[in-house]
């Protein structure tokens, strides 16, 4: 592509990013508003953050959400990595088409359908709805995202490295542990992060499979937001937005440094 960055490009980027970021910026600014009226500015205050910390219901929901996200994303990463390995390396086996269909379908399935289907399953199994059923549902839909991320990495790396390890006497499991896993580790980590965020964010599926005592944070926010804008929710959103921003920026800085280091290593290797 020939790079002639025109005024048109500059304008569309400025307007585009303003559109993407202004709504969140307004939310963050007005979380420090002293007034209860969310659209009228009445001076700077952090009182809504204070009230948020007093709000037992929100804190309880946040704790449940975090627990669900950590457990489900960890299990989903293990299952998703296995699934990716099966898709890329296991070759042909009976029912392979069905398998890859089941990996890709949840990615585009409307959440209302997944939620409904999961709930009906749990009811027919006689499982009590609660934290456990939310975890099962989250593992199922996030493992597919993990497996897509990991399989794209597995597909691009040199299979002969694994074969060399096997020729040199490694067992398949050792070869996986000491050759494959270190190479695909960045993809596995981003898969985990993706699963974690998807689980933290999920509203619709949780809404279907949750029981009365297992309200997650998004469910809590949703029921509060249906009544309109509130400064407390603004404060909560600001906290969540900051966590994500810090996370994404540091992740991208780390990967940038890793790439730089890798390039430096390659340079050194060439000079030898």
């Amino acid at each position: 592509m020939n790079r002639r960055f025109s005024w048109f490009n500059a304008t569309s980027l400025t307007l585009g990013f303003a559109f993407l970021y202004l709504p969140m910026l307004i939310l963050v600014i007005y979380s420090f508003n002293a007034s209860k009226l969310v659209t009228v500015w009445a001076g700077f205050s952090t009182k809504w953050y204070g009230e948020l910390l007093q709000n037992e219901a929100f804190l309880g929901a946040a704790w449940i959400t975090l627990k669900v996200a950590v457990i489900s994303s960890t299990v989903a990463t293990v299952l998703g990595t296995m699934a990716a390995y099966v898709m890329v390396r296991a070759g042909r086996f009976a029912g392979r088409t069905l398998f890859s269909g089941m990996i890709y379908a949840p990615l585009v399935m409307p959440e209302v359908i997944t939620g409904l289907a999961m709930l009906l399953l749990f009811i027919s199994l006689g499982l009590d709805r609660g934290v456990f059923t939310i975890i099962l549902a989250h593992i199922t839909f996030t493992m597919c995202f993990v497996s897509v991320v990991v399989s794209s990495r597995l597909a691009t790396f040199d299979k002969s490295l694994e074969e060399a390890a096997l020729d040199l006497g490694c067992t398949p499991f050792d070869a996986f542990k000491s050759v494959t896993l270190p190479i695909i580790a960045p993809a596995v980590i981003s898969g985990w992060l993706l699963a974690f965020t998807l689980s933290l964010d999920d509203l619709v599926i949780s809404q279907f499979v949750a029981g009365p005592s297992s309200t997650t944070l998004p469910m809590k926010i949703f029921s509060a937001v249906r009544l309109g804008v509130s400064p407390e929710i603004n404060a909560l959103s600001t906290i969540l937005i900051s966590i994500v921003t810090v996370g994404v920026i540091s992740a991208s800085l780390i990967s940038k440094r890793n790439i730089a280091r890798q390039r430096a290593d390659e340079q050194k290797a060439l000079q030898l």
């Binding site: 592509m1 490009n9 709504p23 969310v38 299952l79 379908a105 409307p110 593992i139 309109g228 804008v229």
Partner: protein
């Protein structure tokens, strides 16, 4: 086949069968059942202990009544049609907003592009619910948009945007914008610049070089982006329930209310089955587009 390989394949396979495929069989089965005031609220229920006769009795209790009900009741037909309309219009709008952004990113200098990429991806990691919520304060009658427009004197009385379909369009465009930008950008980024130079050397104006060379070569990205917006928008629940008000009829919301407010599980399941059937066409087309792309890259 050794045991280890079997275990490796079987673990994720069994998980997906149990938690993904079987649930759909159950949805299908309940869609063919009848509503009943009992627990669970449908009939017939399958009793495994009754054996073969139980199965026969169970199968004779199934019928397509719910589907004929959906086809004849104006509410559902309208809801499906209006979801299709909303999803289609918002896909086009998202494309119009996303293309110039993706194009600008591809034209930017090498050292800026990772930062721009990150700026597009960042909102995707932020809670979907919060991003939709942020528009309530902007679009409502006393909201920021109306305050601003009244202040500039463009309008004399507040625009009613909140709780209309327009608010839903804005919500969808905003929430799904990254899904459209990224594939278009990926297509534009690998475009060979010398092609455009050649077109211009051969007498093309800048505009016609864009329409004859750049745009056609970005079409696979455009198609991918359109599917990535259209498919989830069709079954969208959060955006119409927060921004659309009671005026906006979308099938995701209808399904949700059918299940939770009316507690009519058989009809809710039938709604899900029909939505799935509608979605199969775009999903298959999308997979085929991706497949073609992968083969072209090899």
């Amino acid at each position: 086949m050794n045991l280890r390989r079997l275990l490796l394949i079987l673990t994720p396979y069994a998980w997906l069968l149990l938690f993904f495929l079987i649930p759909f069989v159950i949805v299908m089965k309940i869609a063919l059942s009848d509503y009943a005031i009992s627990i669970p609220p449908y009939t017939p229920t399958f009793d495994i202990s009754a054996g073969w006769d139980g199965l026969k009795e169970f199968l004779s209790g199934l019928d397509v009544e719910n589907f004929t009900f959906l086809a004849t009741d104006a509410l559902y037909v309208t809801a499906y049609l209006s979801s299709l309309k909303i999803a289609l219009i918002s896909t086009v709008l998202t494309l119009l907003v996303a293309y110039p952004i993706a194009y600008g990113m591809a034209q930017a200098s090498e050292e800026w592009r990772p930062t721009l990429m990150m700026l597009v991806i960042l909102p995707f990691w932020t809670s979907f619910l919060i991003r939709v919520y942020s528009w309530i304060g902007i679009l409502s009658n006393e909201g920021f948009l109306n305050q601003f427009l009244l202040w500039t004197g463009i309008i004399n009385e507040p625009l009613a945007i909140m709780n209309t379909q327009n608010a839903v369009y804005i919500g969808i465009v905003y929430s799904y914008l990254p899904f459209m930008i990224l594939p278009i950008y990926a297509a534009l980024e690998k475009l060979d610049g010398s092609l455009i130079e050649a077109a211009e050397d051969l007498g093309c104006s800048k505009a016609s070089a864009f329409w004859l060379v750049t745009f056609p070569l970005s079409i696979p990205g455009v198609i991918a982006g359109c599917f990535l917006v259209f498919i989830p928008a069709l079954g969208e629940f959060v955006i119409p329930s927060l921004l659309g008000g009671s005026d906006t009829l979308m099938i995701g919301k209808v399904l949700y209310e059918e299940f939770f407010s009316n507690r009519d599980w058989p009809v809710a399941s039938a709604v899900a089955v029909v939505l799935l059937l509608i979605l199969i066409v775009p999903i298959v087309l999308f997979q085929r587009n991706e497949q073609k792309q992968r083969e072209a890259n090899q």
